[in-house]
């Protein structure tokens, strides 16, 4: 069997047992990226020399050294292009950061280095993580390995493609309104958005600071759990990270789920636009869970219909403020013809940002501007309170919620790019999770008639990622969707 077909846990085990080395594993993935990336556009910058050098150094660490105790020691990883890695290019797939070299490591990158995980390169994304298809990337879209006419989801589409197509065993993404879970669903892999505050955002390029969270992509639950263990934890450099112990998430796998209570929110399944194959995958998941001994109940999240509007006010308001820093002075692209400072600012930003980013900066500026602040921004923050309460109420009686991840399987390239609201609707089932700050995971839930993957989402209580892994693992082992892989035609 090829090394690139093994799971991250299997690779770590083989390295631990001396059957292979981190360098050989890293070289195998590099070789596969060289063969396949041209057809998929998953990686936008390759860091092969650095990765091989790091792997060689990890291999020299003697057996028994505590560094080797990391669950994924030696296993290479892909990083979304919005996380700082010292000395390497980080562009957010935007022209405005085209030449930016990170002067420091993000907290998660420090943790990957401590855990002995070589970084293969940066993966494609919608510019500044704004989008649901990677079509907003300055490098062009990534392609879905199940059907190259289709989008891979977004914004962390490159990370999802890299893992689905075996260009990386695991990857990191970031999720502000579904940017890990929706691409995981489109590409048939696992993607987790942890509880807000579980993973440090230090060194993650900010989009909407009260919603952003970094999380893992993997081909199965075991690898997802192992990678969360590596990146989670309190960080004094991020005042929104929480002092909460990081459990050994692998201890939650392979446990009985008998008697666990799963809620089905009626507003999610009742809405129009839900593809029949997607509701079918929820029905079959309910059947499997019932056989495993879980109990179900229907619940209401009454403010569901207000989530998307609330999200697009809060996220764009925060973005308009966060993206004010791209001014052509400190870093990034600058229009060099401008004669005055004010002209330099506006021409730099007009030329450096793409259409969707500008649209969101404009919307965010508008909802924060004098005369509109109370009606839009403050109003949305109040509705956010109501949305969060909906979740608190459900979790008084249930362990988790089961929902679709996205309303449809992956759509066609170009299908929604001209209609922002249609594109925003791709995240209808994922954004509420960010607004409430709770953890959500997308796992493989089957396939559509066109043989496209369908994701199902489990949403849990704050800091109860372990319970999500327990439920997700039980389903994964019973349903066996993970044995299907994308066709090798690319």
């Amino acid at each position: 069997m090829r090394l690139t077909e093994l799971s991250a846990a299997e690779l770590a085990k083989a390295i631990r047992n001396g059957e292979t080395t981190s360098k050989d594993v890293t070289a195998a993935f590099i070789n596969r990226i060289e063969q396949k990336n041209k057809g998929l556009n998953a990686f936008v910058s390759k860091e092969f020399d650095l990765a091989l050098k790091a792997a060689g150094e990890y291999d020299k660490i003697p057996a028994g050294n505590s560094k080797r105790s990391s669950p994924l020691f030696g296993v290479p990883i892909a990083l979304k292009d919005n996380m700082c890695e010292q000395g390497t290019k980080v562009t957010c797939c935007s022209k405005i950061l085209e030449n930016f070299i990170a002067p420091y490591d993000a907290a998660v990158v420090e943790k990957l280095k401590e855990a002995g995980m070589p970084i293969l390169g940066k993966s494609n994304m919608d510019e500044f993580a704004m989008g649901s298809s990677t079509e907003n990337s300055v490098y062009g879209p990534s392609l879905n390995p199940w059907d190259k006419q289709r989008i891979p989801g977004g914004s962390s589409g490159g990370s999802a493609v890299a893992v689905a197509a075996g260009l990386a065993p695991v990857a990191l993404g970031s999720d502000t309104g579904g940017s890990i879970r929706q691409p995981a669903s489109c590409c048939g892999v696992v993607g987790l958005k942890p509880t807000y505050g579980r993973v440090s955002r230090y060194g993650l390029v900010a989009f909407a600071s009260s919603l952003d969270q970094i999380g893992p992509f993997a081909r199965n639950i075991e690898d997802t759990a192992a990678l969360l263990r590596v990146i989670a934890g309190y960080d004094p450099k991020d005042s929104t990270s929480i002092k909460e112990e990081v459990p050994d998430y692998s201890a939650f796998l392979n446990k009985s789920i008998k008697g666990m209570k799963i809620a089905i929110p009626k507003e999610y399944l009742g809405r129009g636009g839900l593809a029949p194959d997607v509701s079918g995958s929820i029905k079959s998941a309910i059947e499997i869970y019932q056989k495993l001994g879980a109990e179900f109940g229907e619940v209401s999240l009454p403010h569901t219909e207000y989530c998307l509007a609330t999200y697009y006010i809060i996220a764009t308001a925060e973005a308009s403020s966060n993206l004010a820093r791209y001014d052509g002075v400190h870093y990034g692209y600058r229009n060099k013809e401008a004669k005055t400072l004010s002209e330099m600012y506006s021409s730099t930003r007009a030329e450096g940002f793409g259409d969707e980013v500008k649209r969101r900066i404009m919307l965010g500026t508008y909802v924060l501007s004098a005369g509109y602040y109370d009606a839009y921004y403050l109003k949305a923050q109040k509705v956010r309170t109501l949305i969060k309460r909906d979740f608190d109420n459900v979790f008084k009686n249930y362990d988790c919620l089961l929902t679709p991840t996205a309303p449809t399987p992956a759509f066609k390239l170009g299908e929604k790019i001209a209609d922002p609201i249609q594109m925003y609707l791709s995240d209808i089932f994922t954004i509420s999770v960010n607004l409430a700050g709770v953890p959500g995971i997308s796992i493989q839930g089957g396939f559509s008639k066109e043989k496209l993957p369908i994701g199902i989402q489990l949403i849990g209580k704050p800091f109860k990622e372990g319970e999500l892994f327990k439920l997700a693992y039980a389903y994964e082992q019973a349903a066996l969707w993970t044995k299907f892989r994308p066709p090798e035609t690319v």
């Binding site: 870093y331 005055t340 109040k382």
Partner: protein, 94 residues
């Protein structure tokens, strides 16, 4: 209802600029999006506290101690233009 004038004002506040055609397109798109988010107005939120963060945000303080940080060269390493250890910008006045 968002007008072309509102869009021009927001562009100024955002330090962005747009061509005529772009402004027309953007006005239409923002009108659609604002029409969509106006849905929130139908909800009664009297007496509801706003949520700016889902976690209790508290001021974090630390000892006022000198620690290693970027030197001048590192801080300027990504500057589009620099001169004599400073960021260089175009004229700030006409």
């Amino acid at each position: 209802m968002i007008t072309r004038k509102d869009v021009e004002h927001a562009a100024k506040l955002s330090q962005l600029k747009f061509g005529e055609e772009e402004l027309n397109r953007l006005t239409k798109q923002l009108e659609d999006i604002i029409g969509f988010v106006d849905k929130l107005a139908e909800l009664n939120t009297d007496g509801i506290e706003p949520t700016s963060s889902v976690i209790p945000v508290v001021n974090v303080t630390r000892e006022d101690a000198v620690k290693p940080s970027f030197d001048r060269e590192q801080a300027l390493s990504n500057a589009p233009e620099k001169e004599m250890g400073h960021y260089k910008i175009p004229k700030i006045m006409e």
